[in-house]
């Protein structure tokens, strides 16, 4: 006997005649706690269980013999997924992790780690690689290029500053030599972080090597991050125009981009130090640009120099100019003022061209002596 208040239990199909003979539709399998798999197998409707409507009842609500179509779709999808996983030729994780030759593997590991450092700084400078190539760079700097440096005292002993230099020669040796110059000649042995334009930074080997040595991709956010850490940053505002120019255009400064370095100096309050580098044009003179070959292999730029990667032994001179504190002179003026930025960039450009011309006059006729 059922109490009138109780709802009928759809699954209680007792023999009692007084029981409400028409149950509700069966719950779709799987949504009452049991797994969908069990639900299907426990479903009496699927196993040819007794019909729930008996003789003499009228207007029966005949429950479907099959589970809800969407549940079936889900089941099929799950089955499909499992089959796909089985067919995908990926070994199980345990098999892949198993290392039968663990001692060999460990030896290989220590061998592979020998020539590199396990920690790089946040911009990618690897101290082990940097110190490994230091003797080679020193040889180039001292013996090969016989670099002369003037005005290194214009670089502050501490704190942020932006070095703005001319870019010359087909290969970016000037960035490396500028780094060595500041590191060797400056009394505080300051480390310089050159910002390298995209075409060089993404050039195979060259970009990677420069990055491990301490160079960083030229991006305002990278520069701001370095300057916020009170580091010394070098920019080459000519960019690829500077190293991509023909030998006959040597020492003629190209346009200074959109003056990004001026905006940077105004935003971060960093002094600008103009730098002139003379000698790099003759070290790697560019006689041709193989644009077609560069396109074919997907490189941004492919210069042709007489001696390939090896530079010619020209004599180098680097002069650091007086620092310009743009942020102090133009306090309150926004870095978004394009006319001001263009004017300041042009000022710096003229100043660097002036130092270059002075150095060229002092050098005289031969670039190699």
């Amino acid at each position: 006997m059922m109490k009138s208040g109780d709802p009928p239990d759809p699954r209680d199909l007792g023999d009692d005649d007084e029981l409400d003979p028409v149950p509700d539709a069966l719950d779709p399998p799987g949504w009452n706690g049991e797994s969908p798999h069990d639900a299907i197998f426990n479903d009496p409707a699927l196993w040819g269980g007794e019909a729930v409507v008996r003789d003499g009842d009228y207007a029966p609500h005949v429950p479907s013999r099959f589970p809800d179509p969407f549940t079936v779709a889900g089941e099929v999808r799950e089955l499909e997924r499992r089959v796909r996983n089985l067919l995908t030729p990926v070994f199980p994780l345990e098999v892949r992790r198993a290392q039968p030759l663990r001692s060999v593997w460990k030896r290989y590991r220590s061998f592979a780690m020998q020539r590199r450092s396990s920690v790089v700084d946040e911009m990618g400078r690897d101290p082990a690689i940097a110190s490994r190539y230091q003797p080679l760079l020193d040889f180039l700097y001292r013996r090969y290029f016989r670099t002369e440096v003037e005005g290194v005292e214009n670089i502050p002993r501490a704190g942020r500053a932006i070095l703005v230099a001319n870019h010359s020669g087909a290969l970016p040796y000037d960035a490396l030599m500028l780094m060595r110059a500041v590191e060797r000649e400056h009394p505080a042995r300051r480390r310089l972080r050159p910002l390298i334009e995209d075409d060089v930074f993404h050039f195979p080997y060259v970009g990677t090597f420069l990055n491990r040595m301490g160079a960083v991709r030229a991006h305002p956010q990278n520069a701001e991050r370095l300057l916020a850490d009170e580091e010394l940053v070098a920019v080459f505002p000519e960019g690829i125009q500077g190293i991509g120019k023909h030998y006959r255009d040597r020492y003629r400064l190209q346009r200074f981009g959109r003056g990004g370095f001026v905006k940077l100096a105004l935003r971060t309050g960093s002094p600008i130090i103009p730098v002139a580098i003379v000698g790099a044009e003759e070290a790697t003179p560019m006689v041709a640009r193989m644009t077609w070959l560069a396109r074919a292999v997907g490189l941004p730029h492919l210069p042709v120099t007489p001696t390939g990667l090896i530079p010619l032994p020209s004599k180098w001179r680097i002069r650091f100019g007086e620092p310009l504190d743009l942020a102090r002179e133009h306090r309150g003026e926004g870095s978004e003022d394009r006319l001001l930025v263009a004017r300041l960039a042009e000022t710096v450009r003229t100043q660097i061209q002036g130092i270059i011309n002075d150095l060229l006059t002092a050098r005289g006729s031969s670039a190699f002596r």
Partner: protein, 346 residues
């Protein structure tokens, strides 16, 4: 569906959602992060009930008292009404039903990730939960020539053209951003995790780095970044605890060049020119020999590193594992095995 409505009807309605008895729904409960989050929520007395929504029952201990599993298939067109019924009374929805590795079943993946996110957001628009969290990845920033070394949350989401795996996640991310604008009553947080590595997680990164040979694009050696699986789970729990809004990068500390990562893992690099590698991997992917789609080679060429300083500032998340420890843990070494690396760090 009848069953679902009955079940959620028992719980919904009477409970006042306070800070101490929170009700959380997790889609993608079978993913590593989903399962770990459920374990952490189960141990936390501030949470009253956890709804584990996934097509399968997640691999959880059987003695859980707060967690209930509801089989939900986000690829079913009518899943929206079912979800809306389930989510009634839920104050935090965590949407993490995303594939952890690229699949050849691209249209199915699209239904699950992109359209599935739409279903979840539609259900959220009906029930208006107080909080919504999306588990996204830093892959959505995409490897690009233009990227700075450290991508902030405000960086453009470039994605990876031609990659279904990344673009579905990117579209989910964008949908959630649009939802946040249209529904100010819900605090929407987007958690972009760096590639997760660890001894127990199975995803595209662990599969890629589990092989003895790894491709290396000739001359290219970008910096990589990872997050340890335990750090990722802790960060997710922290984000659920807090009231956050907006995108957050969740990354481990430190970066390493790809070649150093391979050396630390003891994998042998296989140098290939990038214009050959693309074609080779296209063929390997089409024949299902490789589990890495050809588009992923861009991650071995260009930078895609996210800056986690916002998560540290606003979420208070500090990773416990740096990248070196993460890699050691992944390949099954302890710090005692390698005093040289410990010394180099100290």
């Amino acid at each position: 569906m009848h069953g679902a409505q009955d079940e959620s009807g028992i719980f919904s309605g009477s409970h006042a959602i306070g800070p101490t008895d929170r009700v959380v729904a997790v889609t993608g409960a079978c993913t590593y992060l989903g399962t770990e989050l459920i374990k952490l929520l189960e141990a936390d007395p501030r949470y009253l009930r956890v709804l584990a929504l996934d097509i399968r029952r997640p691999d959880l201990p059987s003695d859980l008292v707060k967690t209930e599993h509801h089989p939900i298939d986000l690829t079913v067109p009518t899943v929206g009404t079912q979800l809306a019924a389930l989510l009634r009374g839920v104050d935090t929805v965590i949407h993490g039903a995303f594939l952890s590795f690229p699949t050849h079943a691209a249209s199915w993946a699209h239904e699950l990730e992109d359209v599935g996110t739409m279903h979840v957001l539609d259900a959220c628009a009906q029930v208006a939960p107080a909080r919504f969290l999306l588990i996204s990845t830093t892959l959505v920033y995409g490897p690009s020539r233009e990227n700075p070394n450290w991508l902030p949350e405000t960086a453009p989401l470039r994605g990876l053209s031609g990659s279904r795996f990344v673009s579905d996640k990117l579209r989910a991310d964008l949908q959630v951003q649009a939802h946040a604008e249209a529904h100010p009553e819900t605090r929407v947080g987007i958690l972009r995790f760096a590639p997760i590595l660890g001894p127990s997680i199975d995803n595209y990164a662990t599969r890629f780095f589990s092989r003895a040979l790894a491709p290396r694009l000739v001359g290219h050696d970008p910096l990589l970044q990872f997050i340890h699986e335990q750090d990722a789970a802790r960060a997710l729990k922290r984000a659920v605890d807090r009231d956050i809004a907006g995108p957050f990068n969740l990354v481990g500390s430190g970066v390493l060049p790809y070649s150093t990562v391979l050396a630390m893992m003891g994998r042998v690099p296989m140098p290939i020119p990038h214009f050959v590698a693309r074609r080779l991997y296209k063929a390997l992917w089409a024949t299902q020999v490789s589990s890495t789609p050809p588009t992923f080679l861009d991650f071995l060429r260009y930078l895609c590193i996210a800056d986690g300083s916002r998560a540290e500032r606003e979420l208070g998340f500090r990773p416990q594992f740096d990248i070196q420890r993460t890699i050691q843990d992944f390949v099954g070494l302890t710090a005692d095995d390698e005093p040289d690396i410990a010394r180099a760090q100290g």
